[in-house]
């Protein structure tokens, strides 16, 4: 159960000194020199400690929150959180007024300090970001929430720090929906699963009784669309992850698949296959009106809207092979944009609007890449035996996708895992999941 509303923000002071701060991170280039940052454990007094144990079964939620922050900053590839054992100043004193020389001595350029209290079943958190070189405070925030939200507090602090130091929104207070996979390749059991972006709080949304594929978040709400083989009828479904209610999308006399929301959250765009031909359709979620967008004897699939809802990119083999196309959202002005060697699939429009991410197959290798929306400037970010289905972080800086390993002739050695990579092509990382996993979709920021 997700309650975004129960996380109140009370911003009580904000003394940013942007003009004077010396540290700044350029995230438009591959960052090979991550910023050394000290994340001091958030200070918690003794009475709060008792409440923390009672409420959360955690002795020191302040230091747990700081670990969440530290891990987020580390996996972003932009920060190098320093070893806490080297810290000279105690958390409570540092939070009041850091001795900047001490932090400079261990080569920290930025410092996060904070304080937590748990009282009356409320978790109060305040934190500060310090610029060590300039010797001043860069940001200070405080908020109150229910204690069980403590990991989200860590994600929100991470987002604020990321935003303050890079100038762009973060992507830490987000979740990933994906397909959990278990069992042998020939009888794979697949379930919908959802987890925090850092791999914690995994929940399974289906039981594995029927095949489920390609879940995607609505960018504006807690809704998900996906493909289910319920009763052996492959259809696009809509699932409300707060209430658990689900329904079939539209009344199509055949398979519907490859669903995705429009960026305004008002429509679902998908493929409908009939008599061996797949075309693209939309359904308006308010008035349930279905519109046909493409009408071509080839396969048209994997549609994705531009963030302004004006264009659609999609995958078609109308040229004879899988290629990427862009059209106006009414289906007019169809233009092929992929012209490199190989096959192209799964185009996804960046939330920033300037790029389309894709999967490419060339000479037996699979690539995740990006190109501009007119097809120019193709850049391949990663090459592997098998990988596909990129999904953008809400700030358009990171792609998450899945990768499969080759199996031997007996079918052994197969695995499917989630991976992420920066738009720059650096910082490739496996995303931890409890089971094998595929078809990831990144949510929007839960709080702003």
């Amino acid at each position: 159960m997700i309650r975004i509303v129960n996380l109140f923000f009370i911003i009580f002071f904000l003394l940013s000194a942007k003009a004077y701060s010396l540290i700044e991170i350029d995230i438009t280039r591959g960052n090979l020199d991550p910023l050394p940052i000290a994340v001091s454990p958030l200070f918690q007094d003794d009475s709060s400690k008792r409440n923390s144990i009672n409420e959360l079964k955690i002795e020191n939620v302040g230091s747990e929150i700081s670990l969440v922050v530290e891990n987020n900053l580390k996996i972003s590839g932009l920060f190098n959180p320093l070893n806490k054992e080297a810290f000279l100043q105690k958390p409570d004193i540092a939070h009041l007024k850091p001795r900047f020389e001490d932090w400079a001595l261990i080569k920290a350029q930025a410092l996060i300090t904070g304080k937590v209290t748990i009282e009356d079943k409320k978790l109060k958190v305040e934190f500060r970001l310090w610029d060590i070189l300039a010797g001043r405070e860069m940001m200070a925030l405080a908020f109150t929430t229910v204690p069980s939200n403590w990991r989200r507090v860590g994600h929100i602090i991470s987002d604020k720090v990321y935003e303050r130091l890079t100038g762009e929104k973060g992507y830490f207070d987000t979740r990933i929906i994906y397909v959990s996979e278990e069992g042998p390749k020939t009888a794979r059991v697949k379930k919908l699963a959802i987890m925090d972006q850092d791999g914690f709080n995994t929940k399974y949304l289906t039981l594995g009784n029927e095949l489920v594929l390609t879940p995607r978040f609505n960018p504006t709400s807690q809704m998900v669309t996906y493909l289910s083989y319920f009763k052996n009828l492959p259809r696009v479904y809509l699932l409300d992850i707060e209430t658990g209610t689900q329904e079939v999308v539209g009344d199509f006399p055949g398979m519907t698949f490859a669903p995705r929301f429009s960026p305004d959250g008002k429509k679902i765009i998908m493929s409908f296959a009939k008599d061996g031909n797949s075309d693209i359709y939309t359904m308006d979620l308010e008035n349930r009106i279905v519109e046909r967008i493409t009408n071509h004897p080839s396969i048209d699939t994997s549609p994705s809207y531009s963030p302004d809802n004006k264009f659609i990119t999609f995958n078609s083999d109308r040229s004879g092979f899988q290629q990427i196309y862009v059209m106006k959202s009414d289906g007019s002005n169809v233009k092929r944009i992929s012209f490199g060697k190989g096959l192209y699939g799964t185009p996804v429009w960046s939330p920033r609007g300037d790029l389309i991410a894709f999967t490419k197959l060339h000479k037996g290798k699979f690539y995740i890449g990006v190109m501009r929306t007119d097809g120019s400037g193709e850049r391949l970010l990663t090459e592997n035996y098998y990988q596909e289905a990129p999904s953008w972080s809400p700030n358009g800086r990171v792609l998450i996708f899945y990768r499969e390993t080759k199996s031997n002739d007996k079918g052994e050695g197969f695995s499917a895992k989630l991976w992420s990579i920066d738009l720059t092509g650096y910082n490739e990382r496996q995303v931890q999941t409890e089971t094998d996993a595929s078809d990831p979709s990144w949510s929007s920021l839960l709080s702003n």
């Binding site: 390749k185 390609t214 398979m255 493929s271 061996g276 396969i299 699939g345 079918g411 078809d439």
Partner: protein, 162 residues
């Protein structure tokens, strides 16, 4: 000392061996244990039978949904069997191999299943006796990651529905 000549000879030998090995690789992929023609599976490992002498499945080339001569022969046998057993309805399942994006493969599986269905219809089987379902790459019959395994998985399978 004719260095450049010996160099050229070495080069030629390397070039020749490359050509030979290229031919060798090509040969193995086209005739793996006599079970493939082009990259269409022609073996019987995975084949089941709807009735005596009526194979349940046909195989496709990579990214293709064209029926081969052998596939058409199999489907004519299925049509005959369906004519003789008019109370039986069937589901034609379309499948793809693992070397393609999931969504495209779902469409490709649907296209393959319909290619088989259409052929059964031309041989007199009523369309309402045949339904189709695509599994894309979700239900491989062979879990290997090699050209022979993939060729067994690019298939449409006719299954009794009742």
């Amino acid at each position: 000392m004719n260095f450049s000549k010996s160099f050229r000879n070495t080069f030629l030998v390397i070039l020749l061996s490359l050509i030979v090995s290229a031919c060798a690789t090509k040969k193995t992929t086209t005739t793996v244990e006599g079970q493939m023609q082009g990259d269409v599976y022609t073996g019987t490992d995975t084949v089941k039978y709807l009735a005596d002498g009526v194979p349940d499945r046909v195989f496709f080339a990579t990214n293709e949904s064209i029926l081969t001569t052998k596939s058409r022969d199999t489907l004519r046998k299925q049509a005959n069997w369906l004519r003789e057993n008019s109370s039986i309805n069937v589901v034609v399942e379309g499948h793809a191999d693992e070397r393609g994006t999931r969504e495209y493969n779902l469409a490709l599986g649907e296209r393959r299943a319909n290619a088989a269905k259409d052929y059964l219809i031309t041989y007199g089987i009523s369309a309402d006796r045949i339904s189709v379902i695509s599994y894309g790459k979700e239900r491989p019959v062979d879990s290997g990651s090699n050209p022979l395994s993939w060729s067994k998985n690019r298939r449409s399978v006719t299954v009794k529905a009742n």
